[in-house]
């Protein structure tokens, strides 16, 4: 029944029957247990015994960045269609059964992964596992389901993107930032691609990527690995593994020019400015900069005590909002985003100059030891709060594994953060704030363009 093709470490372990349950060190964040099924599906358990409830998630290591050039949106469209029927179940029956059993469910698609999740009483977990395992390989879709769903996805695109000038700018900004890497395409897909996707291609995508050896099961809540293992083997373990799919993503070439994208729209009443820098991450570029960049983003751009908030909003009174966002945990390139929205009466140019002055100051002087100590303290406290929510740990670990990271990347996070030094931050600053690897996005009202001159 199973086709064994040993291409990865996990597959080799399965071949020699090494299915072991390992527990990571206690100093971690979520202290999960993990084991591998013989077909190469990784299983992670995050015990949380507050309530007799579990969150059950299946993650596939496939997202919009794995789509072919002219089929953007296919990963997300497929995610919608996964709620249709299988050989065993009629259209919509999956959701009816989850609801009838008091469960809540949804699914989401990202650039690197697609995940399906339900939260339900622990005594109904087995039912969910049977159904989720069923739709991993037995999906049945016909034009009768696909065509209305295509309209649903187009409506989703209208409401998320086309009705919102800020989102339209965001699409242009991403497309300008990545010259070649597929992160340039929106996860939901371009409108004309969504309109053109046909069933054969959707099913080919499904067959290519939906397999136990490309999936991760994460269960959080009132359960242990010992209790989950027989169920995981019974439902997911019997699905044959597939020959491993080779991921073929276009590579991003070196970038040499700064870019600017401006959207003037009569719907806009409040202008805004943002700049996205291509940044190193845990799996792209020099990964040693990742944790220093995380700490840096906390120091300069998170909360009312951060540098940007204090200097741009409180002291200089040039902005009503300002901050930064860094993502370094993708499979591909990371992004370091700096954003601000001007006070009425402040031009976008003046605001941009003030932000650039802050960046120049960082390049020159870095961060202070006091700033570093305070940031570490805040970030380490976050790990304690993270344990409070039932599904939070499942999301963090699931997204990390599905994007190609390991459990120890998640669990060692507090140690890695506490090891960051001022010098490392200084080095990371010099790498990341390179205008030639950035796009500046400006959102303006149609009638009040104040872009170039002051």
């Amino acid at each position: 029944m199973c086709i064994f093709i040993a291409k990865s470490v996990s597959r080799l372990l399965a071949l020699v029957g090494l299915v072991s349950i390992t527990s990571t060190a206690q100093a971690g964040v979520f202290n999960p247990e993990t084991f591998m099924l013989k077909n190469g599906m990784q299983v992670v358990v995050i015990p949380n015994h507050r309530l007799p409830v579990v969150t059950h998630m299946v993650w596939y290591r496939v997202g919009s960045a794995d789509e072919a050039a002219n089929e953007s949106g296919i990963a997300h469209f497929l995610e919608h269609l996964m709620f249709k029927g299988t050989k065993k179940r009629s259209n919509g029956e999956f959701s009816e059964i989850v609801a009838r059993n008091g469960g809540q469910e949804n699914a989401f698609t990202s650039t690197d992964y697609t995940a399906y999740h339900q939260t339900i009483a622990v005594d109904r977990l087995e039912l969910l596992m049977e159904m989720e395992a069923d739709r991993m390989t037995n999906l049945v879709i016909t034009p009768k389901e696909v065509e209305p769903e295509r309209q649903v996805v187009l409506e989703e695109r209208r409401s998320r993107v086309e009705n919102n000038p800020g989102s339209i700018l965001g699409e242009h900004l991403n497309a300008a930032l990545f010259l070649s890497h597929p992160y340039r395409n929106p996860v939901i897909g371009w409108k004309h691609d969504i309109e053109g996707l046909n069933i054969d291609r959707i099913l080919a995508f499904y067959k290519r990527w939906y397999a136990p050896n490309n999936a991760i099961l994460v269960v959080a809540g009132d359960i242990t690995a010992a209790k989950l293992k027989p169920l995981a083997e019974k439902y997911y373990g019997k699905i044959p593994s597939q020959p491993e799919t080779v991921r073929r993503r276009a590579k991003e070439p070196p970038q040499h020019a700064e870019r600017r994208v401006t959207l003037r729209d009569k719907r806009v009443r409040q202008p805004s400015w943002r700049r996205t820098y291509l940044a190193p991450g845990l799996q792209w570029g020099d990964k040693t900069h990742t944790y220093p960049l995380e700490v840096l983003s906390n120091i300069i751009g998170s909360g009312a005590s951060s540098r940007f908030y204090r200097s741009l909003i409180v002291t200089q009174k040039l902005a009503v909002s300002a901050g930064v966002h860094y993502s370094g945990d993708n499979r591909g390139p990371g992004r370091f985003i700096v954003y601000a929205s001007p006070m009425p009466g402040t031009s976008i140019d003046k605001l941009q100059a003030a932000v650039e002055e802050q960046i120049a100051l960082l390049i020159k002087s870095g961060v202070t030891s006091d700033e570093l100590a305070r940031a570490k303290n805040r970030m380490e406290s976050k790990a304690v709060y993270a344990r409070d929510s039932l599904s939070g740990g499942a999301r963090v670990i699931g997204s990390a594994l599905a994007a190609g990271l390991s459990i120890s990347d998640v669990e060692s996070w507090p140690e890695r953060i506490s090891a960051v030094t001022q010098v490392q931050i200084q080095d990371a600053i010099k790498v990341v704030f390179n205008s030639n690897r950035s796009v500046t996005g400006v959102l303006l009202p149609e009638d009040k363009y104040s872009g170039v001159s002051k």
Binding site: N48, H49, L51, P52, V53, F83, G85, K88, R89, S90, N91, G92, S95, E96, I97, A99, R100, N101, G102, G103, Q104, E105, N106, T119, I120, R124, P148, R150, Q151, V152, V153, L154, E155, R158, S159, E162, N163, N164, P165, K266, R267, R269, Q270, S305, I313, V314, V320, S321, S341, M343, P344, R374, R378, S381, V384, Y385, D388, S389, L390, S391
Partner: protein, 447 residues
């Protein structure tokens, strides 16, 4: 129609195997709330939870934005943005720095009927956390710098809302339903009213509205009942005994089938419909609650979801909800669809409204709704913040403390006849107020 390559034998088999599992009911008793009364007489509902060394305090003062004086709309909202911007000897930056250094979450919010707040701390920082909470409620500074800063943030927020189709629809809806009542005003005010608010208005608000007699508290976390009692006195004991006298008039929404189109050059129409709903204390509230779930409340299983999204692909989201305020009540539906399909979408919503009003529901539909609503109830307790909100919400609605244990039997008690009676009373499509923001084909404003 919905069955795909599925034999009758398989259908029966799966139906049978599911029925066996369905007979198990999840115990909600996992979360036990107790009332703690401090030595000074301050009451809180409390759930002890020693899983993690954290503590969450949620609280509400009855009487919210609906009490903002005429011309000072947005007052309570501005206060909510400023209570954590400096108090006692700590100026804004020092106050915020302490919160962030110790990872203490402290925030305030303002709704139509209540002014609320939340404090979340690691147990090891609770001395400071409770102290900052006390200062923010009893001795806020309202210095000029943070006042002007937060004011400009709110003003920008109002501008952004005036660009957002759903916000435009919602504001128009409330103005239409409550043209002369405080519920018709935007809770965060207007540009003119927010520009006019002064520090003295904020101080008056704090003195008049934040008092012990309108205070409701819910606490979850790693603390003993005895310790909590002492903390309650130290934190809330300085508040005045009584809030200034206040009253908001009870009011019925004006819903007589008005349709209002707000013209915006956008590809998707944002649609809201609403009419009078049932008050929380209405004996038929639970029947209406179950009804709403079957009609438009259930996320992937409701009638509207099935007819409008699944069968016709008209929308990404369509739903209905019950909105029982303290002094009025609504049932409200929302949808978003391409301009050219707005007329069809609205027609189907209204046809389903009528079908639900007159056609009743099947026993299976009702049973499925009940097993969802009862089975999913414990999922609301998935974090300490959510439990604390529940504790406050229960007290706000004047429910008994054992509600967590009895709530499911109230759902179970709803019958098909109850649904039929309540549907007939509640759903009158000819009364619906309809707001559409966009350029919908085939829909016109009424006068």
């Amino acid at each position: 129609m919905k069955t795909i390559q599925l034999s009758w034998v398989q259908t029966l088999f799966f139906a049978a195997s599911l029925l066996l599992i369905l007979s198990i009911i999840l115990p909600a008793q996992a979360v036990i709330a107790q009332q703690v009364t401090s030595p000074g007489g301050i009451k809180a509902w409390f759930v002890a939870d020693h899983t993690n060394p954290i503590l969450t305090v949620k609280f509400t003062f009855r009487g919210g934005a609906a009490l903002d004086p005429a011309g000072k709309e947005g007052l309570s909202n501005l206060v909510s943005g400023l209570l954590d911007e400096g108090a006692g000897d700590l100026k804004s930056t020092a106050f915020q720095q302490t919160l962030e250094d110790l990872a203490i979450g402290l925030s305030f919010s303002s709704g139509r009927d209540e002014f609320g707040g939340r404090m979340k701390t690691l147990v090891r920082n609770q001395d400071t956390a409770f102290k900052l909470l006390r200062l923010s409620l009893s001795n806020p500074r309202f210095d000029a710098e943070p006042l002007e800063r937060i004011r400009s943030q709110i003003l920008v927020g109002l501008k952004q809302k005036s660009e957002d189709p759903h916000s435009i629809a919602s504001q128009t809806l409330f103005k239409t339903l409550y043209p002369t009542h405080a519920y018709g005003r935007p809770t965060d005010g207007t540009i003119g009213s927010v520009e006019g608010l002064k520090a003295s208005d904020l101080r008056t608000f704090v003195h008049q509205r934040l008092a012990k007699d309108n205070l409701i508290i819910g606490v979850v976390g790693d603390i003993s009942a005895e310790e909590l009692g002492k903390r309650l006195d130290a934190t809330f004991g300085l508040l005045p005994a009584k809030a200034a006298p206040w009253k908001v008039k009870k009011i019925d929404p004006i819903s007589k089938g008005q349709t209002i189109i707000i013209d915006r050059d956008i590809p998707q129409s944002s649609i809201l419909v609403a009419e009078k709903g049932l008050m929380r204390e209405d004996p038929d509230f639970y029947a209406a609650y179950v009804l709403n779930h079957m009609f438009g409340g259930g996320s992937f299983t409701s009638r509207l979801y099935e007819e409008i999204r699944e069968k016709r692909g008209l929308v990404y989201s369509v739903s209905t909800g019950l909105y029982p305020f303290d002094n009025s009540a609504l049932i409200l539906g929302s949808a978003g669809t391409a301009n050219k399909r707005a007329h069809e979408t609205l027609s189907v919503i209204k046809a389903e409204w009528d079908k639900m009003a007159t056609g009743g529901v099947s026993q299976k539909e009702l049973d499925d709704a009940k097993t969802y609503l009862t089975g999913s109830f414990p999922l609301r307790f998935s974090s300490s913040g959510r439990i604390a909100s529940m504790l406050v919400g229960m007290q706000s609605a004047e429910l008994p403390i054992d509600y967590l244990q009895t709530r499911n039997s109230l759902i179970e008690a709803v019958t098909k006849d109850d649904i039929k009676r309540v549907a007939k009373k509640l759903l009158k499509s000819e009364n619906l107020v309809t707001i559409v923001v966009g350029r919908p084909d085939g829909i016109k404003s009424t006068n």
